[in-house]
């Protein structure tokens, strides 16, 4: 197959999505708790620790500021982990994709199913944090419900980026580079822990292009009760990143598996 051909998708992609959902359902509770633990540790550790020093950040209590950032960061992490480690296991270690492609399911369908699944799983993760912080009283208005589609879109963007890395990975070790060079810096540069205005202007200029910046720029106002500035711009950025990254991932995966 020509690796650059347009995606040829069918509803069979949903069977791939369902396969992953069925596996997740068996371990749903521990999996959700696992996804919650890490961001909540940050939230309470840093939030309580720093809120006495920083009573107000960007007009809200620091812990509320951090909570809105953690929703985005944990969505990013959940989508990345799923599209890297879990998808790589299914592609390379367990040969699950190979088995599926012997059935009337194309590689395009498999990859689309994986993409939508990683985005869905990360949405659960982001929504779980959202629920916890709402129960704790850090969510200002029902506008917060609009954060859910933004979380899903954030999941799509990071799942597609992760699938690019998976398509190139020779082994699990390779993912370390992606986390160290891309995911971790974004946690620090994109406004999760502090407003990016604190950064030198050159760094700010770079950070403005990073996908997590767009997610934070949309989710934080929605949770604090405002309609985001430049909403369409940020939505468009996430959408374009998602589609372009999925296109690249598809091309690379075809080159890897259909040669």
């Amino acid at each position: 197959m020509n690796p650059t051909a347009l995606p040829r998708l069918s509803l069979r992609a949903l069977a791939v999505w369902r396969r992953n959902f069925l596996v997740w359902r068996k371990l749903a509770i521990p999996s959700l708790l696992g996804n919650l633990a890490d961001p909540l540790i940050y939230l309470f550790g840093l939030g309580y620790g720093l809120s006495s020093l920083l009573p107000q950040v960007a007009g809200v209590p620091y812990i509320a500021f951090l909570a809105t950032g953690m929703v985005c960061a944990s969505t990013m992490n959940a989508a990345s982990f799923e599209a890297l480690y879990s998808s790589f296991s299914r592609m390379h270690v367990q040969r699950t994709w190979e088995a599926i492609m012997n059935a009337p399911v194309s590689l395009d369908d498999v990859l689309a199913g994986e993409w939508l699944w990683a985005a869905a799983k990360s949405t659960l993760s982001g929504a779980a944090i959202l629920l916890v912080i709402a129960l704790l009283g850090y969510v200002a208005s029902p506008l917060a419900l609009w954060a859910l589609p933004v979380i899903f879109l954030t999941g799509l963007a990071f799942a597609a980026l992760g699938l690019i890395v998976t398509a190139l990975a020779p082994s699990y070790d390779f993912f370390m580079y992606y986390f160290t060079l891309f995911i971790t810096p974004m946690m620090l540069l994109c406004g999760v822990f502090f407003p990016p205005q604190q950064l030198p202007s050159v760094v700010q200029a770079v950070a403005a292009w990073l996908p997590l910046t767009h997610a934070v720029a949309l989710v934080r106002p929605l949770l604090t009760g405002f309609v985001p500035h430049d909403m369409l711009l940020h939505l468009a950025a996430l959408l374009i990143i998602s589609i372009v990254a999925f296109g690249i991932a598809l091309r690379l995966t075809r080159r890897r598996l259909l040669k």
């Binding site: 197959m1 069979r12 069977a15 068996k26 367990q94 012997n102 059935a103 009337p104 194309s106 259909l258």
Partner: protein, 312 residues
């Protein structure tokens, strides 16, 4: 969809003039074969002969550089996805879903064919029974033996009731009991009218199961036909294997006097003869040499045509 001119109609699989190269090395170099409905056809060849690449081309998982493939009446790779609705595959490497139980493996695999759970669920006991796994519905894949996994993979290949089964070395790594059970099940499928394409490098397996087979080497067909025919056409009727420290020396001195052809491998001389009596009389006077007299078989043909040197 019509078959291109010159291709047999109604054949479950037709391969014409197939070529595929990787990094400048031609792995498949002009392969031709077609399957008759209801037969078991074998692709035999040493490691690296191009068997697995050929199967990938047949399933539409890679695009050949040249040639045509018609899978279940549809051109591959263009319409391979639709064609695979009617094909079952047992791959060379185990790829059952380790996150699922035995029954879930079948159920989830059926969904890839668009088979609804309500349709497949009632069929699962019969599929498992066929695979010798009755009552193991709730067993985790991780605790199955190698033989059980292969049998479950065979059952999985049958969820869509395919007309064509493609089996890539289905008994590699299995113990004799497990191999015999697989053979018996494959024969049963043939009597049900299924067509089977089998790759193997077990000659006894090919001789037992295949109505016709092709021996391929370096991506080309070396010979094709029914196993008995190939033995008749390519090799002397009988073989006397001569063992012993001096077997190579004896073969060099005397082998040619009594045999049509002698091949030496290590401390064994393989003497190919049409009538063994004079050779056996002579060997009776050589107490240092042990002998085994047997009819020629497919392995002799295979080794004659593909050579005795190792392929890695």
């Amino acid at each position: 969809m019509n078959a291109p001119p010159g291709l047999p109609l109604g054949s479950p699989l037709v391969v014409r003039n197939l070529h595929k190269s990787y990094d400048g090395r031609e792995v498949v170099a002009g392969l031709n074969f077609s399957l008759r409905r209801g037969e078991c056809y074998g692709l035999l060849g040493p490691n690296g002969a191009g068997k697995t690449t050929t199967l990938r081309c047949c399933l539409g998982l890679t695009t050949p550089d040249a040639g045509e493939v018609m899978l279940a009446g549809l051109p591959a790779p263009e319409h391979a996805r639709e064609a695979r609705m009617n094909v079952g595959v047992v791959p060379q490497f185990d790829n059952l879903d380790p996150d699922f139980t035995v029954a879930e493996n079948l159920l989830v695999y059926g969904r890839y064919f668009g088979i609804r759970d309500a349709v497949l669920k009632p069929k699962i006991p019969a599929l498992l029974d066929f695979a010798g796994l009755a009552g193991k519905e709730q067993t985790s894949i991780r605790v199955l033996s190698g033989g059980m996994k292969r049998r479950l993979t065979l059952a999985r290949a049958l969820v869509n009731d395919p007309e064509l089964l493609i089996l890539d070395e289905p008994t590699t790594g299995l113990d004799p009991q497990a191999r015999h059970l697989i053979w018996e099940r494959l024969k049963q499928l043939l009597t049900q009218g299924k067509t089977i394409l089998l790759t193997t490098h077990f000659m006894d397996e090919a001789e037992r199961l295949c109505q016709r087979l092709a021996i391929i080497d370096n991506g080309r067909t070396v010979c094709e036909g029914a196993p008995r025919e190939l033995i008749r056409a390519h090799i002397e009727a009988e073989v006397v294997e001569v063992y012993g420290e001096d077997a190579p020396g004896w073969a060099a001195r005397e082998g040619g006097r009594f045999s049509h052809r002698v091949e030496v491998s290590g401390e064994t001389a393989f003497c190919y003869v049409d009538a063994a009596a004079p050779l056996l009389d002579h060997l009776a006077g050589q107490p240092a040499l042990r002998t085994l007299h047997r009819p020629a078989n497919l392995e002799d043909v295979f080794l004659k045509l593909t050579g005795r040197e190792l392929r890695d």
